[in-house]
């Protein structure tokens, strides 16, 4: 009886607590913005770099927090689905690297362009697609953004060119998009991302050369997570100063775990490109993520010290931009959103077999495609 009473009283007090805390949050006065110091970037062929202090507004802070948390939850959910074999094939995750995708998006306009390699889910989200479409694409369902035909590495959105499977191939593509920006004269820039592993590809240096020669508005960004596939950077690169490897292209070394640092560096690079003062620039963001090649101790250390979401959360709470409860609410909402999306991604049907031959050619009249033998035909519609 006593136990029951105790339980009942706990429940009642618990029930009354929530509304009270909500009332508390609503009535508390938050600061509108706060100034933070950020790490100075190492410079290559630049007199000045991005500013060392920046202002973060409450609105922006909440937005970045929500976006980073969404990317984190989405990637963890993808991980879970992958382990359950609901997602098959490739699934390159960027949990831990959220500051890069959200920070870069914060530094450019929606009319700017972005292209990256296969660790693309975060960028697909920040460039405008919904979690539902992304997870459904990962599970290969027809509700996916590429109708289930592209998968993890081939997701496209407006001004977002994927999602590219071949290591390094996206870099000349990005320079080409920058060429189109310059050709059209619209003052847009193209962010071209690649990893520390791809940084050793020859075609990247060809792209650097032509971008600098033709003064293309292209920002080359190396996301350094210290491992190219399974090989650590010390064993793969003669020079691990990736921001200097553009040689004649000015460069910045940026702390990739700090979203504000990434944002400021991106703004700086984009402004530089747009002003015509300097036509290409190279950013190099260090971030730490990845399992399998690292020791357990290494992972624990990074998780406890450099989690970009924790860094932002601590900053916001300590500067009275938001409360812990408020951020927790955002967590709960995000979790629900991801759960719904995962539910959709698991339940949606796969694309029908009749559509196997669709989208081979663009803008062409329908035609027949040969299947596994001469009597099996698929219709192909553009």
């Amino acid at each position: 009886m006593r136990k029951m009473l105790a339980a009942v009283s706990r429940v009642l007090s618990g029930a009354s607590q929530k509304p009270a805390s909500r009332v508390l949050v609503a009535s508390r006065n938050f600061a509108n913005d706060a100034t933070f110091e950020i790490k100075k970037c190492d410079l290559h062929r630049l007199e000045e770099g991005p500013p060392v202090t920046t202002v973060l507004t409450r609105e922006d802070g909440l937005k970045y927090y929500r976006m980073m948390q969404t990317v984190r939850r989405m990637e963890l959910k993808a991980d879970q689905l992958y382990k359950q074999k609901i997602i098959r094939g490739f699934c390159h995750l960027c949990d831990g690297q959220e500051a890069c995708c959200v920070g870069l998006e914060a530094g450019i306009n929606p009319t700017d362009h972005l292209i990256t390699a296969y660790r693309a889910h975060g960028f697909t989200f920040t460039r405008g697609l919904s979690v539902r479409e992304i997870l459904a694409e990962l599970t290969g369902r027809k509700g996916g953004c590429a109708k289930g035909k592209g998968g993890s590495m081939h997701m496209y959105a407006k001004n977002f060119y994927g999602g590219n499977g071949i290591v390094g191939a996206q870099v000349p593509l990005g320079a080409g998009i920058a060429l189109a920006c310059k050709y059209n004269g619209k003052d847009e820039v193209c962010l071209t991302l690649y990893g520390d592993g791809a940084a050793n590809q020859g075609q990247i240096f060809e792209a650097y050369n032509m971008a600098a020669l033709w003064k293309l508005p292209c920002i080359f960004i190396c996301e350094n997570n210290r491992y190219g596939m399974g090989t650590s950077v010390e064993r793969a690169a003669a020079s691990t100063d990736y921001y200097k490897r553009g040689d004649f292209i000015p460069g910045l070394r940026v702390d990739g775990m700090d979203i504000l640092c990434v944002r400021e560096a991106t703004k700086f690079a984009a402004a530089y490109c747009r002003s015509g003062k300097l036509d290409t620039s190279s950013l190099h963001a260090c971030s730490c993520v990845g399992i399998n090649y690292r020791t357990r101790e290494e992972i624990q250390e990074v998780r406890s010290k450099s989690d970009p979401i924790m860094l932002l959360k601590d900053r916001m709470v300590n500067s009275n931009l938001a409360s812990v409860e408020e951020l927790k609410e955002i967590d709960v909402e995000v979790r629900k959103e991801i759960e719904d999306a995962a539910q959709f991604a698991t339940a949606d049907p796969e694309p029908p077999l009749e559509e196997l031959g669709y989208h081979i050619y663009s803008s062409d009249p329908p035609f027949e495609v040969r299947g596994a033998n001469q009597w099996i035909k698929f219709k192909s519609v553009s």
């Binding site: 496209y156 994927g162 191939a169 320079a175 060429l179 495609v369």
Partner: protein
């Protein structure tokens, strides 16, 4: 623009393949602001083989771009520009060098429309000389028709004469898909009669349609690019001996026009394929494989008269037809009745006087 060749006086109405390609590109550059040309030596040098002569003077640096010797880089740049909405013409000095960039052609250009579920098209043209030239040795003589013709998502054309060259390059530029145009260096300087319709700025040759260059009844000879000329010469010689060859100029490698080839083979019962590429896994190998498999269903429906001569059906396909048992092989009754009976003539059967080989 016909006068661009300038230096050598030609009979009126004759245009070299080089000038035809030049005309085609010039007209498309003029028609659409988004079209531009990039490649090695295309601008200030007027083209390594002078194919782009005069274009840089007319259109300037923005639209005719000299690149460094970086095929993988500039092919990737061209593909990226196409993804962002421009319509590049990417010239390879020869297609042998396209091997440096083949990842961009296949993985970045050809496959993207499919992998994006129809969201991202890549309206790009890759052009340049293909195949053997005069004594340039193995590394500079490979024919890439079979390699590029293998890949879905890509269109591959191979012009022979001036009319082909102009019509196909214009169709390729206007096409919203990646198109590989396999020219031939030894054909650049060869003049051909230019029919009046080819003078028009909207003269297009449809991609995917072959042309019967010479009608014949005894043997079908299928070819593409420069060997078409050899086939016509051979046909002239054979004609004196009483053998009439039907010479088909494929014009397009992918999508291949099998209907024209099949119709011709049904007429002549004999087939020779002629190409500049290696035989194993080549263009001719594909044509032979498809002919050996049997005529397409569409052709059966259209050529009811020829259906009676079903000597082309091999045993396996005949068995399949029996299983389906839809067709009654009688030319007159074909469209009227579909009974379960099928009268098929096996090779060597005495029911008809047809012979397989």
């Amino acid at each position: 623009m016909a006068a661009v060749s300038g230096l050598v006086r030609r009979p009126l109405g004759e245009v070299t393949v080089r000038d035809a390609i030049n005309q085609g590109m010039d007209e498309e550059l003029e028609r659409d602001e988004k079209v531009f040309l990039l490649g090695e030596e295309v601008a200030q040098y007027d083209g390594a083989y002078k194919v782009s002569r005069g274009l840089w003077k007319k259109y300037g640096d923005k639209r005719i771009i000299d690149t460094p010797i970086s095929e993988m880089g500039f092919a990737g740049i061209a593909v990226g520009a196409a993804m962002a909405g421009l319509r590049p013409i990417c010239e390879f000095m020869t297609f042998n060098f396209s091997m440096q960039a083949i990842d961009q052609v296949i993985n970045s250009a050809a496959k993207t429309y499919y992998m994006s579920g129809g969201l991202q098209s890549v309206p790009i043209v890759f052009r340049g000389p293909n195949g053997a030239s005069a004594g340039v040795a193995a590394q500079h003589s490979q024919c890439f028709a079979a390699w590029y013709g293998h890949c879905p998502g890509l269109k591959v054309v191979s012009p022979w004469n001036s009319e082909d060259a102009k019509g196909l390059i214009k169709s390729a530029i206007r096409d919203n898909n990646p198109v590989v145009v396999l020219e031939n260096e030894l054909m650049y300087g060869v003049p051909f009669e230019f029919p009046p319709e080819a003078q028009s700025k909207d003269f297009l040759i449809p991609i995917g349609k072959a042309k019967i260059e010479r009608q014949g009844t005894h043997i079908t000879v299928v070819s593409h690019s420069r060997p078409v000329g050899h086939c016509l010469e051979a046909a002239a010689v054979l004609s004196k001996e009483g053998v009439e060859c039907e010479v088909i100029n494929m014009r397009t490698i992918r999508p291949m026009d099998m209907e024209t080839i099949e119709a011709s083979v049904m007429k002549t019962n004999h087939l020779v394929t002629v190409e500049g590429g290696w035989p194993q896994f080549g263009v001719g190998a594909e044509i032979c494989a498809r002919i050996m498999e049997g005529i397409s269903k569409k052709l059966v429906l259209e050529y009811s008269q020829a259906v009676v001569n079903i000597m082309y059906l091999n045993t396996y396909s005949i068995k399949r037809l029996k299983a389906r048992s839809v067709w009654h092989f009688s030319s007159r009754k074909y469209f009227k009745s579909k009974s379960r009976k099928s009268c098929v003539q096996f090779p060597g059967c005495s029911c008809c006087s047809c012979h397989w080989c």
